[in-house]
């Protein structure tokens, strides 16, 4: 991390800190305050709901970033693991009456375990083969959910409100706080994993796994660990999603969603902690704009246009955005952001 000039570290702890200068502390606390007071100034429950959904997506995307961005394991089946988390939480709270905090943890653990099982091929495979395996994994997971009576089969199942002790997360604001706190915690954990020995091992595996193995990194352990952590976070996100929606069905976890997750972290910037934040916010905003703004507007004003115009625009724009980002800015928005920060610091040669 580039620091403004004049900042020196006198202790190792200072050198390793995430937030270094007073300005950074101020900005950070300001951001947290803004985030947690959002229910006060958000215009309506709808936008609060969108913000909650964004938070949930962010948790899952952070997990995928650790798996894909840091460790380089191509996993295009993330929606399947989210589904595992969602259904675990639903079954535990709905059918077995387990309290929500335990259900949350269990859904993370279950998703992580299933992630490890489907991650075993990563020992021998890379690249496209692993991608296909993850796609197959997602379809198998969804098929099992669809055909198992415990999960309500094709019709889906209801999920009660999340609750801790006697406090029920019924209002939109309370759900927002729950999700946001967990999201902030998750990002903090992810950042620290990335900076630790585990993170460095991941990066080594991504760059050249044979060389990493030669250097003494246990590929088996670290690859499976990456799958576990990534899918654990997906499971947590799934559980939160289930309790927020009140009803789950496998149709919510389609292959197109998996593609969107990969797109989000690529657009945001692979291998950085702030990348998923950018990616998720970008895609969510685009989606909201298209659904609420552009499409109804086109449909109302231009009824002379062929019927598919307005509704075909959304997938077209999404696909176009993905392709354009990959071509023009493959390192994602995080890269642009760090360029911006450096430019801000260096202009006009402020020392």
């Amino acid at each position: 991390m580039t620091l403004p000039c004049g900042v020196r570290s006198y202790k190792y702890a200072d050198d390793m800190a995430i937030i270094r200068t007073k300005t950074q502390w101020v900005l950070f606390i300001l951001m947290l305050v803004l985030l947690f007071t959002m229910p006060l100034y958000m215009p309506s429950n709808y936008w609060l709901g969108i913000a909650t959904l964004t938070g949930i997506t962010l948790i899952a995307a952070t997990g995928l970033n650790l798996l894909l961005g840091y460790c380089g394991q191509l996993s295009i089946g993330h929606a399947g693991f989210i589904a595992v988390g969602a259904y675990t939480s639903a079954i535990l709270t709905n059918r077995l009456g387990v309290p929500f905090p335990i259900a949350l943890l269990c859904s993370g653990l279950t998703a992580g375990t299933i992630g490890i099982i489907f991650g075993i091929p990563s020992i021998r495979l890379k690249g496209f083969y692993l991608a296909i395996t993850s796609i197959a994994a997602q379809f198998i997971i969804l098929w099992v959910i669809n055909h198992w009576s415990l999960t309500g089969g094709f019709m889906g199942m209801q999920v009660p409100y999340a609750s801790i002790g006697s406090f029920v997360f019924k209002s939109r604001a309370s759900q927002f706080y729950l999700v946001t706190s967990i999201a902030v915690l998750t990002i903090f954990i992810a950042k620290n994993i990335a900076r630790s020995r585990v993170g460095r091992a991941f990066i080594a595996i991504r760059d050249n796994d044979l060389a990493a193995q030669v250097m003494g990194i246990n590929l088996f352990f670290y690859k499976l660990l990456a799958f576990f952590i990534g899918c654990f976070m997906a499971g947590i996100a799934g559980s939160l999603l289930a309790h927020w929606m009140g009803f789950i069905n496998t149709e919510y976890f389609s292959f197109a969603d998996s593609i969107l997750y990969v797109a989000m972290i690529i657009i945001g910037g692979l291998g950085t902690t702030i990348g998923p934040i950018f990616g998720v916010i970008f895609i969510s905003t685009l989606e909201q704009y298209l659904t609420v703004g552009l499409v109804p507007f086109l449909e109302r004003t231009f009824s002379m246009l062929p019927s598919g115009f307005a509704t075909g625009v959304t997938p077209m724009l999404f696909g176009l955005v993905i392709v354009l980002f990959l071509i023009l800015e493959p390192r994602g928005l995080a890269h642009r952001w760090s360029l911006f920060k450096s430019a801000y610091r260096l202009w006009p040669f402020s020392y």
Partner: protein, 294 residues
Amino acid sequence: MGDLLQLVITGLAVGMVYSLIALGFVVVWKSSSVANLALGQLVLIFSWFFYGMLVQIGFPLWLGFPLLILFALLVGWLIERFALRPLIAQPILSLITVTLGIAYFTEGVVTFVWPKSVAALPRFFPREPLHIGGAVVSQEYVWIAAISLLIFILLTLFYRYHRMGIAMRATADDQLAVQACGVPVTKIMSRSWMVACIVAATGGILISSIGGITNGLVMTGLKGFSVVILGGLDSFAGAMIAGPIIGLAESLGGGYLTPYLWSGVKDIIPFFIIIIMVLIKPYGLFGEERIERI
């Protein structure tokens, strides 16, 4: 026993459909080591284009088919020129994701131009099914099998003996070396995508004759991946053999296992086969094992 014969024949027939799609995939992989995850959507858009030509505008078959081929060439060229050429040296994740982006985009274009989500092509083949022993198979499948075999033979000969084919194989092996030898790599990638699109277009017409043009073509495209994994990513022969195997597994599994397990078992069999293959023999039955060095 008439049951068994019926199931076997249906399985082989459906398997040939998968083989046809897999051939399109292998073409792209063999020339540029790019995994074309947009295959299902490409089949979809070509089917719709054909429908548009034949039904909406009303061209006759002998005009519509060449137009479709031209369109396929155009699409192949466009994809290669604008989406893949800028990404020539990028890591494989970018390439896979860009094909996924193209898939999304293509689905959007299909909704855009042809807002109906289901349509039927005019009937090309007579509706009387063929009777083999006690079993029936509809004529479309026979044609699919024949045309798949034809394309397979053409492609194999092309890649083995034609200059361009040999150049394509060389490019897949080592782009830098090939460039040093003076082979125009961009032209080769263009041509290979165009060929893949033509195969996809032909596949699209044939498959749509069976069940109409629906979003199910995309699902069939995904099942094509299982054929490719089973047969080996860079082997045409593998695609031709693995297709019927997967079709048989689906058919027999669906026919015999369903009463004991769950309805819908047949949908998951190709994906199970992927997982099993990937654990035992990742490079497929006929694929070439890549030896990696540091």
